[in-house]
């Protein structure tokens, strides 16, 4: 096993982590500020991917598609917040789970009805295609490096937004005391809509970025959604920092587990069995990690409101 391969796999893990972070950041922000569990976050991811694919196909420009994905997901998020989500803040988690579960069904079928049953075409822009050489002899996809870059920019942007702007101050106030900021005269309804749309836009961005190298189809958001939940639970719900660290942890553990477990098992088992059992354990690995972390730290690594 060469060092180039290991470097490449670690980068892969980070890149997967960054995509999860884009999903998890919105999810954790919405939970932190509004106390809402949104199962339909994966649907916003799907909206972003479809918007990007449709606009890119119509205009021929991936970048316009990317802008469209942000706009469409933010708009879908805002409409969803105003029509449905707003009525759920005062409810318990049970009602939130059911309502957003219903939203998944609605979004999936509506998308299929609008865009048909076949996967859509969306490819990465030519400026970012191909592979680059890394020091140490490794070769790596330029687009994946760009995704890592986007993740870093978004993380930094969120940090600046929350700690250095007026909106961020209100968000922090909302996290610590919901009644209080209402009393201070902040228009809490608008604040909530903005936060929700922001989270939705991040999910849409993730959908477009990932859709370009995966498959744009109905139901694409569900596997990512569950992983994003694992991330925010590991990181501590409501904590952006936790989401970032949890995302990278999950990405790296998942990638390295898939790659290393079969190799390790080959020491005692025939290759075919090692591949199959290794893959079985690897698919359970992040859930095992999550259970272990929660067994030790029931509020996750960086609990926001512990």
């Amino acid at each position: 096993m060469s060092s180039a391969l290991i470097i490449e796999q670690v980068l892969n893990g980070i890149q997967l982590g960054v995509t999860l972070f884009l999903m998890a950041a919105g999810l954790t922000l919405i939970f932190g500020v509004m106390g809402l569990i949104n199962l339909a976050h994966g649907s916003l991811y799907m909206v972003g991917a479809f918007a990007c694919a449709v606009v890119a196909a119509a205009t021929g420009s991936f970048w316009l598609g990317l802008a469209a994905s942000l706009a469409a997901a933010a708009a879908a998020g805002a409409v969803m917040e105003i029509l449905v989500i707003r009525r759920l803040y005062a409810r318990d988690h049970l009602d939130q789970v059911l309502a957003t579960f219903a939203l998944i069904l609605i979004f999936s079928e509506a998308t299929r009805w609008l865009f048909g049953s076949f996967p859509l075409y969306l490819n990465i822009p030519s400026a970012l295609s191909g592979a680059v050489h890394l020091p140490g002899g490794a070769q790596y996809s330029l687009y994946r490096l760009a995704i890592i870059g986007v993740g870093i920019v978004v993380a930094a942007g969120l940090y600046l937004l929350i700690s250095h702007t007026r909106l961020g101050m209100r968000i922090r106030a909302g996290e610590s005391d919901r009644e209080m900021i209402g009393a201070l005269g902040v228009d809490i309804r608008t604040l909530y809509t903005i936060v929700f749309a922001l989270g939705a836009a991040l999910a849409g961005l993730a959908g477009a970025l990932v859709g370009a190298q995966q498959s744009v189809q109905v139901g694409m958001g569900e596997p990512v959604l569950i992983l994003a939940f694992v991330v925010i639970v590991i990181g501590g719900i409501g904590s952006i920092k936790g989401a970032l660290i949890g995302a990278v942890l999950v990405g790296v553990v998942d990638t390295l587990g898939r790659f290393l477990l079969p190799v390790l098992l080959e020491v005692f088992l025939p290759p075919s069995q090692a591949a199959s059992i290794g893959a079985a354990v690897a698919s359970m690995l992040i859930y095992i990690v999550m259970a272990l972390i929660l067994a030790v730290r029931p509020q996750g690594l960086f609990a926001a409101n512990a």
Binding site: Q15, S117, A131, P271
Partner: protein, 379 residues
């Protein structure tokens, strides 16, 4: 498992009807019309209905329901179609796991089932059933064909990959049945996985001279796009599912040049196929996939049997089906002793026709190929 299929299951009492011609026939179709896998079900349904329409037989009623790709729901619909709608025949299921849930209980209730897509090995061997006809393929066939092709082309170090579930394991087993040279790697991925960076890195460092993969649906689209971007330059091969017309558009140019196996292709030169491709395209505004071809053949097989026997006379109708006396879009088609096809399997290459990606036949992997389980079937 011993062949005690259907022992003790409630058999429906079926009245024997009179005339052979223009008698009403009710066909139940359970297929996937919602969710991510809906494209396959839609193609099967559309082609099936096209053939029924072309026949001009107005006595045929097709009851169609969506299984949402859930086995339990498919079982419930099957019960309803048999017990409440009283259908004469059933068809439509796309996925092996749904077929495994539904087919044993349908055939056990003495209803004939025709598979337009899935062909799990468990239904082809010792558990074969006279009421079960597979009009598509046995699951191993396409993978065996690629194995034989890779060997014939002189590949020495193939890297092979499939999801970690029964069809994935059957796939790699089928491939290895005909490819006996060295393997550069054998990898099982997670079912539903969409990021293949880790696997591509392994392929890159494995020193393989060729790649075989089986990743159905969205998994295959994601893999091909990422593989094309990775800078790894290897000949790519797979079963026809991964390069079928329904997914080619989504993969894009990354698919060009890939070799894949199929028992059907758009450019097969026979009258039935020309008519099928032309009418399907004008009716639905898209090119047919291999699933559509299978759905079309299934309908035409049923129509040919209706001409010969009454659907109420099970014995005679089964015999009529078994003759397979219809113009298959595959050119030739006949049933083996286990009611699975004996057919040619071709190698196709993905090409670009103008702006449209499609397949053309480049080689024949097998002539009159039969599956590996037929001998175990005592019927």
């Amino acid at each position: 498992m011993k062949a005690v299929l259907g022992a003790g299951l409630v058999a429906l009492s079926v009245a024997v009807a009179g005339s052979v011609h223009a008698e009403p026939v009710k066909i139940g179709m359970i297929t996937t019309l919602s969710g991510g896998g809906a494209g396959l079900g839609v193609d099967v349904r559309d082609a099936f209905m096209l053939a029924i329409k072309q026949s001009g037989n107005e006595e045929i009623e097709v009851v169609i329901e969506d299984d949402g790709q859930k086995p339990e729901l498919a079982v419930q619909i099957a019960d309803k179609m048999i017990q409440s709608d009283k259908v004469d025949l059933m068809t439509g299921i796309i996925w092996s796991n749904l077929a495994m849930a539904v087919v044993p209980s349908v055939t056990g209730q003495d209803v004939i089932y025709l598979s337009p897509n899935a062909g799990p090995s468990a239904l082809a061997g010792a558990n074969c059933n006279p009421n079960y006809f597979n009009v598509a393929y046995q699951n191993d066939n396409f993978h065996e064909a690629v194995g034989a092709y890779a060997k014939a082309q002189g590949f020495k170090k193939m890297f092979i990959m499939a999801p970690n579930y029964p069809a994935g394991k059957d796939s790699l087993t089928g491939f290895k049945r005909y490819y006996d040279a060295e393997l550069a790697g054998e990898v099982y991925t997670k079912l539903g996985q969409t990021d293949y960076a880790a696997e591509i890195a392994q392929i890159r460092s494995s020193g393989a001279d060729g790649l075989f993969f089986f990743l159905p649906g969205g998994m295959g689209i994601a893999f091909m796009k990422q593989f094309a971007q990775s800078g790894v330059d290897l000949p790519v091969m797979g079963p026809g599912f991964s390069f079928s017309q329904d997914v080619l558009g989504a993969i894009g140019d990354a698919a060009v040049g890939a070799k894949n196996s199929s028992q059907w292709s758009k450019d097969l030169d026979n009258e039935a196929n020309k008519k099928f491709v032309e009418t399907f395209q004008s009716e639905y505004g898209r090119l047919p996939s291999l699933y559509a071809a299978q759905g079309y053949d299934t309908a035409n097989l049923v129509l040919s049997a209706i001409e010969k026997a009454s659907v109420k006379d099970k014995e005679a109708f089964r015999a009529a089906l078994k003759e397979a006396d219809f113009d298959s879009v595959r050119g030739k088609f006949k049933f083996n002793t286990n009611n699975h096809p004996i057919q040619d399997i071709y190698m196709r290459e993905v090409i670009k026709e103008g702006d449209v990606l499609t397949n053309k036949i480049v080689d024949t992997a097998f002539t009159d190929h039969q599956d590996a389980y037929a001998a175990e079937c005592k019927m």
